[in-house]
């Protein structure tokens, strides 16, 4: 199906469902269940964005749901506002708290993040329960208002349900579309490999804050509609257990696709109804079901139906424009650079000059500080001391995405691709880096294909990065860096793990890049390869540079030989 046909089908389906919900008599009880499922599904879509796309855990979605609900409840009762301004109030508050939680991801991930969100959830529950003068305490709030629109009777539950479904379809469609947009790809890049995401130009912190904000916004939206639907809310509806339920819904339905949220919410609202015959044990069965889902359905129910479709590019692949101005002089200049970890001086006062258009090799024994130096140059580590100048601009200590925008691209020793994305999407993310001059998706795709073509991988553009063989993953990673228009390319042991043929192909690729005038800093252990491509070599040992010069000079330098082969005993000492 073409994208346009897909959108059309979606609209028809949405219209059909909304029409049925408003027209077919469903019975009061069923309407209540569907109202609950629809408002939950909207909140669960927030988790699709946060957990599914961005890979950040939250056990506080019920808290955001509650903030939206209390916004509508207090707005339409105590404050005497209309439904829309009351909902807006709830959404603003929820989103602000979402941003605040997102800011904690600057330092924290994994179980720490889980704990931050749990703490937020617990504190909110306590406040809702105990701040009686405002929230009404455990008794909750009654007589919550619904929207008023001329000609539409929202007091009718089924009409209100139809309105909720309209919102659900709109939000669901937007979340689904988001996945393939620039922001959505950036989110998935953060999820798959945060370090690499920063290095290809994504402001990872900002992306995570946006994800938290969106998730909180959708949580609040679901909650606001929920409050209007049931017209009565109390703190126990927005407790930690409900956050767990929302999380389970997204995992059950499938965390990677928007439709998973609808499946999960629908099923888990209806499942307890179907399990009613188990009487007081139905929640126990529900708990057991959660474990079984985790064991047997790792990708959720939707995961059973979705498969990555491999495709080959239809459009002809153009040549890669590397756009390098032929200039003389020094591109990158490093002075007195140091990086210490506690007492360990991994890099200890290194000077380095990389000439425009040259291939500069950085060699040295294991543990000599080569990768640390590269990590400082690409912004993953902040230097302890020293300066780095790129084209006269001081760049020491800048964040990875800022350095990427300044034109530093890199690859990693242990390949860091976005494994659940296609090879093409990996490279598109590289092409869309800020400062590459590309903002249109079509242009980014064309450039990404050209970059894949340059490394000989265009045919495999449609395959999942994780399913590519090792050597090809290396090439895709190089293509990802090239697509971002780098002025300086940092390669960390690109030949590691390659067989002889692949190595020779890599040599040819490096020579072609040099032919285009691209400046390259190369870490490599394979001296044969280094001799073939390097214009200059810098040798590090114990974090200091011990030699510098042309390959012929450096490889005969006595200190270099000593560093690699051990001290040659001198005759005087003997």
């Amino acid at each position: 199906m073409s994208p346009r046909a897909r959108i059309l089908v979606y609209f028809v389906l949405a219209a059909l469902v909304v029409g049925l919900a408003s027209a077919v008599p469903l019975g009061e009880y069923m309407v209540k269940l569907l109202l609950q499922a629809a408002s939950y599904a909207i909140a669960v879509l927030g988790l699709t964005v946060l957990l599914g796309y961005t890979g950040q855990i939250s056990l506080a979605q019920a808290a955001f749901f509650g903030l939206g609900a209390y916004g509508v409840a207090l707005g339409t009762t105590t404050l005497g506002l209309g439904f829309a301004p009351a909902l807006a109030l709830g959404l603003v508050v929820a989103t602000l708290f979402g941003i605040a939680l997102g800011m904690s991801t600057l330092k924290l991930g994994g179980h720490y993040l889980a704990m931050v969100t749990i703490s937020f959830q617990q504190i909110l529950t306590l406040v809702l329960t105990n701040w009686i003068s405002v929230t009404g305490g455990p008794d909750g709030i009654r007589n919550i208002g619904r929207p008023h629109l001329p000609g539409i009777d929202f007091e009718n539950n089924q009409t209100y349900l139809a309105a909720c479904l309209v919102v659900l379809f709109a939000v669901g469609g937007l979340v689904a579309v988001l996945k393939s947009r620039r922001l959505g790809l950036a989110m998935q890049a953060v999820r798959d490999n945060e370090l690499a995401a920063g290095v290809v130009g994504i402001n990872t912190f900002r992306v995570k804050i946006i994800a938290f904000a969106l998730s909180a916004l959708l949580g609040g939206l679901g909650g606001g509609l929920f409050a209007g639907a049931f017209r009565y809310i109390s703190p126990d509806q927005f407790a930690f257990d409900d956050s767990v339920v929302l999380l389970t819904m997204v995992l059950l339905g499938g965390v990677e696709a928007a439709i998973g949220a609808a499946i999960g919410a629908g099923l888990l609202i209806l499942l307890p109804e179907w399990l009613r015959f188990l009487k007081q044990f139905y929640l126990a069965v529900y708990g057991a079901a959660v474990i079984l889902i985790m064991v047997f359905l790792p990708a959720g129910i939707w995961g059973l139906f979705s498969r990555h479709r491999v495709w080959a590019p239809a459009a002809p692949v153009g040549p890669l424009e590397l756009d390098i101005e032929a200039a003389a002089g020094t591109l990158l200049s490093v002075r007195g650079l140091a990086k210490h970890f506690g007492g360990v001086r991994a890099v200890d006062g290194v000077d380095l000059d990389i000439a425009q258009g040259s291939v500069h090799a950085l060699i040295g024994p294991n543990g000599s500080g080569k990768t640390t130096l590269l990590n400082v140059l690409s912004g993953i580590y902040r230097p302890t001391a020293g300066s780095i100048t790129l084209n006269t601009r001081p760049v020491a200590g800048l964040a990875p995405h800022v350095l990427a925008a300044a034109g530093i691209g890199r690859t990693f020793q242990n390949i860091r691709l976005f494994h659940s994305l296609s090879a093409l999407d990996n490279v598109v993310i590289g092409a869309e880096r800020p400062g590459s001059g590309i903002s249109q998706r079509a242009a980014a795709t064309a450039r990404a294909l050209a970059a894949l073509g340059f490394v000989g991988m265009a045919e495999r553009a449609g395959e999942l990065a994780a399913s590519l063989p090792y050597g090809h993953q290396r090439l895709v990673e190089i293509a990802r860096a090239l697509a971002g228009h780098p002025v300086l390319l940092l390669l960390d042991e690109p030949a590691a793990g390659l067989n002889l043929t692949e190595k020779q192909e890599l040599v040819e690729l490096l020579k072609r890049l040099r032919g285009h005038g691209l400046t390259i800093l190369l870490i490599e252990h394979d001296m044969d390869l280094v001799e073939q491509v390097a214009d200059r070599i810098t040798v590090l040992n114990f974090g200091r540079h011990i030699a510098d010069g042309s390959p012929a000079e450096v490889l005969r330098h006595p200190e270099v030989i000593a560093a690699y082969l051990g001290e040659v005993p001198s005759h005087e000492a003997a």
């Binding site: 889980a114 704990m115 999380l247 044990f281 929640l283 708990g287 057991a288 959660v290």
Partner: protein
């Protein structure tokens, strides 16, 4: 001054319970890298086992404790087989969700059998306690502190001075290497779950006479124990103990001097402060990642 000491005593007492649960958390985390959200339910199972054996069946207290310890050992083994083992090669999140599922399961099984009304458990000792001037040291709190101290000492001796303890430590540091050295990693993990469940059970036995026995007990204890592990430094054994006691003291003082309804919030506010200012905790797990 008397008030201060009285509060300190009670805070340390309840904190010791958090510390025991936190210890179970940390041991499982170190052995498997799994954050077990059902740790609090271990205490609930232990507490209910005591209620059943001593109150319902009328068995003597010491026999109830022995039976409860045996129940917890079996429970820990089953928990490992049912919740952790099938997911042992998966990432952080599925396992966490699985333990949350287990927590829901256990809670509702107990709820289904015993209902929401809390049960009572008699204190371990008959004596009411010791009076030191105006200070009153409740016997159950004394018992809790004494048992916790003894367990911590025993555990130290076990891990540092027995071969089995060292094997378990080896597994927590590097599973692959340990298995190359001929250590049966699966069994060591099994033992960790069993021991951790027993620790949780003991915490339940100890805390039951102070608080009422109900399924809600588990969630609150678990969250505070979790907070304790982060304050102490995730994965650090002394940190879990210090963190647990710190949480107990903080909330006891907070409840007395600031607000009773917000008693449960103090632990989380302190936790927030730690997470934002010093996420590595008092004793420090490394948080950063490497390229």
């Amino acid at each position: 001054m008397t008030v201060l000491l009285q509060l300190l005593f009670q805070g340390v007492g309840i904190g010791a319970v958090y510390a025991l649960v936190a210890l179970g958390f940390v041991l499982i985390y170190r052995a498997t890298n799994v954050v077990n959200f059902a740790q609090g339910q271990f205490a609930v199972v232990g507490a209910y086992s005591m209620v059943v054996t001593t109150a319902d069946l009328g068995l003597p207290y010491w026999l109830g404790i022995l039976i409860t310890l045996a129940v917890m050992a079996v429970f820990g083994a089953l928990f490992n087989l049912g919740v952790y083992y099938p997911l042992r090669n998966r990432s952080f999140l599925p396992v966490v969700i699985s333990t949350i599922g287990a927590s829901i399961f256990i809670t509702n099984i107990i709820l289904g059998i015993y209902g929401p009304e809390p049960s009572m458990l008699a204190p371990m000792l008959d004596a009411p306690g010791i009076s030191l001037g105006a200070l009153f040291l409740d016997a159950q709190y004394l018992t809790i502190i004494a048992v916790t101290l003894a367990l911590v000492a025993l555990q130290y001796l076990f891990f540092e001075h027995t071969l089995l303890g060292k094997r378990m430590q080896a597994v927590s540091q590097d599973k692959e290497m340990a298995s190359l050295l001929g250590i049966k990693v699966g069994w060591m993990i099994m033992l960790t779950f069993i021991y951790s469940a027993m620790l949780g059970g003991i915490a339940g036995i100890l805390v039951a006479p102070i608080l009422f026995v109900s399924v809600g007990l588990g969630g609150q204890i678990a969250l505070k124990a979790f907070a304790a592990t982060i304050i102490g430094g995730f994965g650090d054994v002394p940190g879990a103990i210090v963190g647990g006691i710190a949480i107990g003291v903080i909330e006891t003082f907070g409840a007395y001097y600031i607000s009773v309804p917000y008693k449960d919030a103090f632990a989380f506010i302190v936790l927030f402060a730690f997470l934002l200012l010093r996420p590595s905790g008092l004793f420090g797990e490394k948080v950063s990642q490497k390229a």
